[in-house]
């Protein structure tokens, strides 16, 4: 893999206009990645999801070279109907379109960051890989007091032009005081067997509100990794919703630092997977100061021989008195080959706190099915009704009514 990396790196660099210093930084990250390689099960965080093995078995040789020079045609048919929204369109890892038509132009700033800055204090090899190969990382700034009128949808599309490729994306968001942003990540893939590596960084200043909805719904054979780093100042709120369903392999990581008092973080997630899909959500919520709050709810419905993993950690610093932390993960295993793994972790150094977690997994409740059948539903209907109700619980946590409806329609949950 080393020669391949080196070769692809040189080819990629050649097509970009970078300063000498920038090339050196990128080289540094490349060397880091070459040293470490893809994470494997020997690392505690990857215990349940051996990425190295997954890539070897499902892709084999990866190519890291991306042609950032040639443009792709934007296919407007993928756009969401019936909801006015701002757009960012990624096609095969290249940003093809950014439009904030519905917003005041002077309130949003889009800065093309050509220089590579690694803002992630995540020393994983995937972060190194991302830093070495991303061509551009945009910084999107929402100015003080501005609340976006319409949600922003980021379309992550790939098409059949690429296969066995590694794609790296990076975006930085800054939300100034009293601002707010609704962000939907929508994955649309018609490509196969690529490894997509996404890093987002969110900086939330005082009183700002971020709502991030990640929707991976459409069937595809790609392997995805997404890392969200969220820094929160006083009174800020972050809400993250993850629908983990379409890709063959998918791991979402949320790292949230509650740096300011009265800040709060909400993470809700659904795994709805079948076949031999293997998905994971890993969250780390760091309560670093007093009076912070976090809430997490993760539910899985597992069919065939699918596997889901939830690793959630609540860390409470000794300064963070009056912390309120909650975590709940539930799973329904529908087939004898399905598997659910969880590692809900609490690490607590302050005494005046309220922290708890719960985890439950098992089969569909036969009594409930019996009840519904006695009311005239057939087995299939009863099953669907119960699963819908189980998942609806998480969807109902979405605080934005427009997005809630959109997601309900997408999943096909009826009330």
């Amino acid at each position: 893999m080393k020669e391949q990396l080196q070769k692809d790196f040189d080819n990629t660099i050649r097509n970009l206009t970078l300063s000498q210093k920038d090339i050196e930084i990128k080289k540094f990250y490349l060397d880091n990645f070459i040293n470490k390689g893809f994470p494997n099960r020997r690392e505690e965080d990857w215990k349940f999801y051996d990425l190295n093995q997954i890539i070897n078995r499902n892709i084999g040789e990866l190519s890291f070279y991306s042609d950032y020079a040639s443009t792709n045609k934007v296919d407007t048919s993928v756009f969401v109907d019936g909801l006015e929204h701002n757009k960012i369109v990624f096609i095969n890892g290249r940003i093809e379109k950014i439009d904030f038509d519905y917003e005041k132009k002077d309130q949003i700033e889009i800065i093309d960051q050509s220089e590579t800055i690694n803002k992630f204090n995540n020393n994983s090899s995937l972060s190194d890989l991302n830093s070495a190969f991303t061509n551009k990382s945009f910084r999107i700034v929402v100015k003080e007091g501005y609340q976006l009128k319409k949600p922003l949808i980021i379309y992550h599309t790939t098409n059949s032009k690429i296969w066995s490729k590694n794609i790296n994306l990076r975006l930085n968001f800054e939300l100034y005081e009293n601002s707010s942003l609704r962000l939907i990540d929508l994955f649309r893939d018609t490509s196969e067997k690529n490894f997509i590596n996404i890093f987002y960084n969110f900086d939330l200043k005082e009183n700002s509100v971020l709502k991030n909805y990640k929707v991976d719904k459409f069937e595809n054979k790609n392997i995805k990794y997404s890392f969200n780093n969220i820094e929160q100042d006083n009174n800020s709120i972050s809400e993250t919703f993850i629908l983990s369903s379409g890709s063959n392999f998918c791991k979402n990581e949320i790292n949230c630092n509650l740096n300011g008092e009265y800040s709060s973080a909400f993470v809700n997630g659904i795994f709805s997977i079948n076949n031999n899909k293997h998905h994971e959500i890993r969250t780390i919520i760091n309560h670093l100061t007093e009076n912070t709050k976090s809430y997490q709810l993760i539910k899985s419905v597992l069919e065939d021989s699918s596997r889901s993993v939830y690793q959630g950690k609540i860390f409470v610093d000794s300064k963070a008195q009056k912390t309120d932390g909650y975590q709940l993960s539930k799973a329904i295993l529908l087939n004898k080959d399905s598997e659910f793994n969880a590692k809900p972790e609490l690490e607590i150094y302050a005494d005046d706190v309220k922290c708890s977690h719960g985890s439950a997994s098992g089969s569909l409740n036969e009594d409930s099915i019996f009840y519904l059948r006695s009311r005239g539903l057939n087995y299939q209907q009863s099953r669907e009704l119960l699963i819908n109700g189980f998942l609806l619980d998480v969807v109902e946590k979405i605080t934005d009514p427009e997005v809630k409806n959109l997601i309900k329609n997408m999943i096909g949950i009826k009330e």
Binding site: D337, S338, E339, F340, I348, S359
Partner: protein, 480 residues
């Protein structure tokens, strides 16, 4: 209340911290093949036992010391330890108590474990282990009548080689992890119990471990086999003198329950925890594992962990037989600079297996406590159930309480439920108690005992009383 106060004052310091001045026979310092041969030789072991040890040692040389645990400790120099130390008078084991060194008798009297016939604890058979050797076992005749074998493991190796050969290493193989393998190579003494088919053991069996010599590691090995349809309740207690150095205690405990058998294993662990500044104390790195081999078998672990500078152990159950049951009840209390990383593993292999985990952790002072547990339901363990509850109580903001459960469910017809909470003693409860005339410390004692009650109830009577006192004492000075 006066009495209780007096009692607490009496017990404020670690009262088992004395040393017995006694002449010792020691193995040469360090760890090598010769030392292992020395131990085997002094125990007059047959060749197969020596081979077992050497095989373990071969494996040990290839292993690396693990370092994933939460409490870190300075590197142990395994060549700077004595692996065998026994009172000289025990060289040729005395036939009866009259011949036993009076100093030893005195020691056990001071510890509250009288070995003499007339003063024996009623209804409990005790095997007393002093450093590397078992000094006395009480009530043996009575047990023999029922066919129960209860003796030091070194005797069992000579007198019941078939049983030992069959079961030793069957739950913790010689190729297991670092400390277990070390134990397999150099273990010195411990207890062996065999309950024959259909026998319900009429009394509690018990082992009392005492570390006395300095610079010594204690490596004891316990093997309990409950044959078909039998029942046994086994207790374990331990103390050590106060010393500035850290001492290593790496024991292996193996339990085997055959069809319809039940083993109940209770521990009150009160090794010397080190002084207020965290100097000295025992490193308690123990491997305890039970195998529910037969159908309908049951193994239940109960532990009260109040001592040791570092406790690092996970009493586990392998639920292999169909319908077998595993239970784990634990109270772990850390104060001052104590550290604990403890929990359990429940490995469900058979159909209709059930397990239950109740863990209560209390940390005070500068201490750090981790519950780490694994519940693994394999694809074949249809219709299995697990319930886990782990609660932590924090006193002060200089201590830590952590929960790290691993949950693996690979069977769709099995259920796992896990709950954990972390909190402090609520102001309302304290206020209520104080309003009724209890002092702050008494109120905390009462609330903590209530918090632990679910586990304390599982202990045999005699132990429960002692454990309840211990809970109060361990938290002494942590209020206010």
């Amino acid at each position: 209340m006066d009495n209780r106060q007096k009692e607490i004052d009496n017990l404020k310091d670690y009262k088992y911290g004395f040393t017995t001045d006694i002449e010792n026979t020691r193995a040469p310092k360090g760890l090598n093949e010769d030392v292992i041969k020395f131990i085997s030789n002094i125990k007059k072991e047959p060749q197969w036992m020596l081979d077992f040890r050497l095989k373990a040692y071969e494996r040990f040389k290839q292993l690396k010391e693990p370092d994933w645990q939460k409490p870190k400790y300075p590197k142990i120099d395994y060549q700077d330890l004595y692996y065998y130390s026994a009172p000289k008078s025990m060289r040729d084991k005395p036939k009866n108590l009259e011949d036993l060194d009076p100093k030893l008798l005195e020691t056990y009297k001071k510890l509250g474990i009288p070995l003499q016939e007339q003063k024996r604890l009623n209804g409990i058979a005790v095997d007393a282990v002093f450093d590397s050797v078992s000094v006395a076992t009480t009530f043996r005749d009575e047990l023999t009548k029922q066919g129960i074998i209860f003796c030091p493991i070194s005797e069992a190796i000579q007198n019941h080689p078939d049983l030992v050969k069959k079961y030793l290493g069957s739950v913790i193989p010689v190729t297991d992890h670092f400390f277990a393998t070390l134990n397999s190579a150099v273990f010195t003494d411990g207890s062996f119990a065999y309950i024959p088919e259909g026998v319900r053991c009429p009394m509690e069996l018990s082992t009392y471990f005492r570390i006395n010599a300095s610079n010594t590691g204690q490596f004891e090995r316990t093997l309990i086999v409950a044959d078909k349809g039998s029942y046994v309740s086994y207790l374990e207690g331990c103390t050590a003198p106060m010393r500035d150095e850290n001492q290593l205690h790496a024991a292996n405990v193996e339990l085997v329950a055959l069809d319809d058998a039940e083993i109940k294993y209770s521990t009150v662990q009160n090794w010397y925890p080190g002084d207020k500044d965290g100097k000295g104390g025992i490193y308690n790195f123990v491997t305890k594992r039970g195998l529910c081999k037969g159908k309908n078998s049951k193994i239940s672990w109960t532990q009260v962990e109040t001592g040791s500078a570092i406790t690092w152990k996970y009493p586990s159950c392998i639920l292999k037989g169909d319908n077998s049951v595993g239970e784990f009840y634990s109270i772990a209390i850390t104060n001052n600079h104590q550290k604990a990383d403890t929990g359990t593993k429940m490995i469900h292999l058979g159909k209709n297996t059930k397990s239950k985990i109740i863990s209560k952790g209390i940390s005070a002072g500068h201490s750090d406590m981790t519950y780490r547990g694994l519940v693994d339901i394999s694809p074949k363990a249809t219709n299995s159930n697990n319930y886990t509850q782990c609660d932590s109580l924090l006193m002060g903001n200089k201590c830590g309480a952590h929960t790290v459960p691993y949950i693996k469910n690979k069977n769709s017809e099995s259920n796992i439920a896990h709950e954990a909470t972390t909190s402090k003693i609520s102001e309302e409860q304290l206020h209520y108690c104080q309003q009724r005339g209890l002092s702050a410390e008494e109120a905390v004692g009462l609330i903590v005992n209530g918090f632990c009650k679910e586990v304390l109830q599982q202990l045999p009577m005699e132990f429960a009383v002692e454990a309840q006192k211990l809970v109060g004492i361990s938290l002494e000075g942590s209020v206010g």
